[in-house]
């Protein structure tokens, strides 16, 4: 069994921690303690290792993650898992705005709520939010899936491209070109799979509504001028 390597951010500078996590041929398991809201914790990972962060983190935790499995035992600040490519990021608490922004792949799970702009500009990531999301979530979302077990704030999916959104609760309002869509067997299966992977397998998928693009704003046209 590989040894767990521990970093105490009260004793070791963040630079040294991230540098150690960028070492070539990295393997094993790592625990980062006392993050105390530090920004850029465990960013730029590119190894199939497990990193556990015990505490609250600031901006961009696990940013641009590749391969790593990162667990945050606390809340996460702005832009958690931004531009993630692969791997997983699991936030046990709440996440601030822009969670999973522009991420291309991997899985982001937030057990609590996520604030505004969750999944903004997402490009292939799967995001599962245990609670509610704030306004402008999935703005210009291009690809990937966003599952919201609670409610969504205003302007959900504004100017959305090909991402899929599943919401169990209420949606305050839909953004431009975002519409409710039929839940086919494929979508139920997809949602069930996503929920199971995030540890929410008890949910009844028939209580969810799927949202996506009406594709009416895909081309600039004078008749659409009022929609932008």
């Amino acid at each position: 069994m590989e040894q767990v390597r521990a970093f105490d951010l009260r004793a070791i500078p963040l630079r040294d921690v991230n540098s150690a996590l960028h070492a070539p041929d990295l393997s094993g398991e790592f625990v980062i303690s006392h993050p105390d809201g530090a920004h850029s914790v465990a960013v730029g990972m590119d190894a199939a290792v497990k990193v556990t962060v015990d505490g609250h983190v600031g901006y961009y935790a696990a940013g641009m993650n590749q391969q790593a499995e990162i667990v945050i035992n606390g809340n996460a600040g702005t832009g958690v898992a931004e531009n993630m490519m692969s791997g997983s990021v699991w936030v046990k608490g709440d996440a601030s705005q822009s969670a999973g922004a522009s991420a291309h792949g991997g899985v982001l799970v937030v057990e609590g709520n996520a604030a505004a702009r969750c999944g903004i500009s997402m490009k292939g990531i799967d995001i599962v939010i245990g609670g509610n999301v704030g306004h402008m979530s999935a703005f210009m979302a291009q690809a990937g899936r966003l599952v919201i077990r609670g409610d969504a704030g205003e302007a959900l999916g504004d100017s959305i491209y090909e991402a899929r959104i599943y919401v169990r609760g209420e949606v305050a309002s839909l953004g431009a070109d975002c519409i409710a869509k039929e839940m086919t067997r494929e979508h139920h299966q997809e949602l069930e799979h996503l929920l199971k992977a995030a540890g929410f397998e008890g949910d009844d998928t028939s209580t969810y509504t799927r949202y996506g693009s009406a594709r009416s704003l895909y081309h600039f046209h004078v008749d659409n001028a009022g929609s932008y």
Partner: protein, 443 residues
């Protein structure tokens, strides 16, 4: 039969200065289509520019350098404030960010070839980095844009510098657009978008707003790349003094200021011509900000927007820039708007010297297109040679002026070497009106 100017004068026809023929045509176009005009290029209106400045060559009170004997160096170091690996360029002329998507693959390759041949950098654009571009570019600056199209950490690590783009001179405050004609399967794949749609790029970054956030974002980029890469911050010229100060406070190693003459691949005409300030007005504002923070020359300043000649290069540097970037001029050097395409430009209702419909993807020169047949017309080897030649000429011209002013390095040029020929230019550039010691607003 059309009238000549003489005919019109003889007939007493008078054109309105307010409603001239271009204005009338624009109103007709708007009335017919119901939508604003989108085009490429930068501001075409006449603006105070570097042409309005002149150098004071050495004579009795200054000592010139021998043109063909004494050295006048041109190298520049960019990004040595925090980065482990700053860029050491041989010339102070760089290639501005232009996307694969806006430009064809061979055109991007040619930009890399030409820049590398003379030891300078080129820059990616919206949509990410292509292997051809990386492969042919000795120094490649990777743009980090609001859309994050094609953005990935592997390419970030492959870059020689990272440019956080807040805006560009042609459209400060505006996002990007790439019309469906240019969203080829490859472009769509790189940007994770459906093929053929009219693509929008966001005008704000998705995960930060304001200078305090930018500080944290820059720190994240440094952490991800282990503090190796210089971080540039690019702004379109508007409130330049404040923007440059905030960029420095946020941790930028290099600030790029793009004036309103800077080019675009596709933007609304009204935006291009009516938002932003001229490059000439922006440079002294940027330099003032850097000087007040005591970081002038420590945080390098790259100026772009309407740089055409070695005189422009020298004037920008004399006003305080460390380097310049060229975009439109680089495309012209590759062959854009060349008279050899005249007949084809006419088929597109344009003409050599006027063509600016980069958004349409129908460029006969094969530069601003994703049409495989048009792109195949463009030879990246020949394009690269032409660009390298042009860059050499810009450099030699700047050296010629610097030597005449007695400078052993082009970066030794200073505002004291300049005068202005118009009151507007004197006020903007903060150099005296020629033949006087008058700097409007200052002396």
């Amino acid at each position: 039969m059309s009238h000549t100017t003489d005919d019109r004068a003889r007939l007493g026809l008078r054109e309105s200065a307010t409603f001239d023929r271009q204005t009338i045509a624009a109103i007709h176009r708007a009335a017919e289509t119901g939508i604003y005009d989108i085009r490429g290029w930068g501001a075409k209106r006449a603006l105070p520019h570097f042409d309005d400045l002149l150098f004071l060559g050495a004579s009795m009170s200054r000592y010139p350098l021998e043109g063909y004997r004494e050295r006048c160096d041109t190298d520049v170091v960019l990004g040595d404030r925090h980065a482990k690996h700053p860029l050491h360029l041989d010339i102070p002329v760089t290639i501005a960010g232009m996307s694969f998507g806006a430009l064809s693959g061979p055109a991007k390759e040619a930009l890399g070839r030409g820049a590398s041949e003379v030891g300078t950098s080129t820059t990616t654009g919206d949509g990410g980095m292509t292997p051809e571009e990386r492969g042919q570019s000795k120094y490649l600056v990777y743009q980090y844009l609001p859309s994050r199209y094609g953005m990935n950490p592997d390419d970030l690590r492959k870059a020689d510098a990272i440019e956080v783009v807040l805006g560009q001179g042609a459209k400060p405050g505006g996002g990007g657009m790439l019309l469906g004609q240019k969203i080829s399967p490859r472009v769509a794949g790189m940007r994770t978008l459906p093929e053929g749609i009219d693509q929008r790029s966001a005008c704000r970054h998705p995960d930060w707003t304001g200078p305090d956030d930018l500080t944290i974002k820059i720190n994240e980029l440094r952490e991800i790349t282990d503090w190796e890469k210089p971080i540039y911050v690019k702004v379109g010229a508007t409130r330049t003094y404040y923007d440059v100060k905030l960029a420095v406070h946020a941790g930028a190693d290099v600030v790029v200021v793009d004036g309103m003459q800077g080019g675009t691949a596709a933007t609304q005409e009204v935006f291009i011509e009516h938002v932003g300030i001229p490059t000439l007005a922006a440079v002294p504002e940027a330099v003032r900000a850097l000087q007040e923070l005591d970081v002038h020359r420590d945080v390098q300043l790259i100026v772009s927007g309407g740089i055409r000649t070695g005189a422009d290069v020298a004037k920008a540097i004399a006003l305080g820039a460390d380097a310049v970037a060229i975009g439109t001029a680089a495309l012209i050097a590759l062959g854009d708007n060349h008279p050899r395409h005249e007949s084809e430009y006419r088929k597109l209702s344009s003409a050599a010297g006027f063509f600016d419909d980069f958004q349409d993807g129908t460029d006969p020169a094969g530069i601003s297109t994703q049409d495989p047949e048009l792109a195949a017309r463009f030879d990246p080897l020949e394009g690269g040679r032409r660009l390298a030649n042009y860059l050499r000429v810009l450099t030699m011209e700047a050296q010629t002026i610097a030597r005449a002013c007695g400078k052993g390095h082009v970066l030794h040029l200073e505002p004291e070497d300049l005068v202005a020929v118009t009151i507007e230019a004197a006020a903007m550039a903060r150099v005296p009106l020629a033949g006087t010691d008058w700097i409007p607003g200052r002396t």
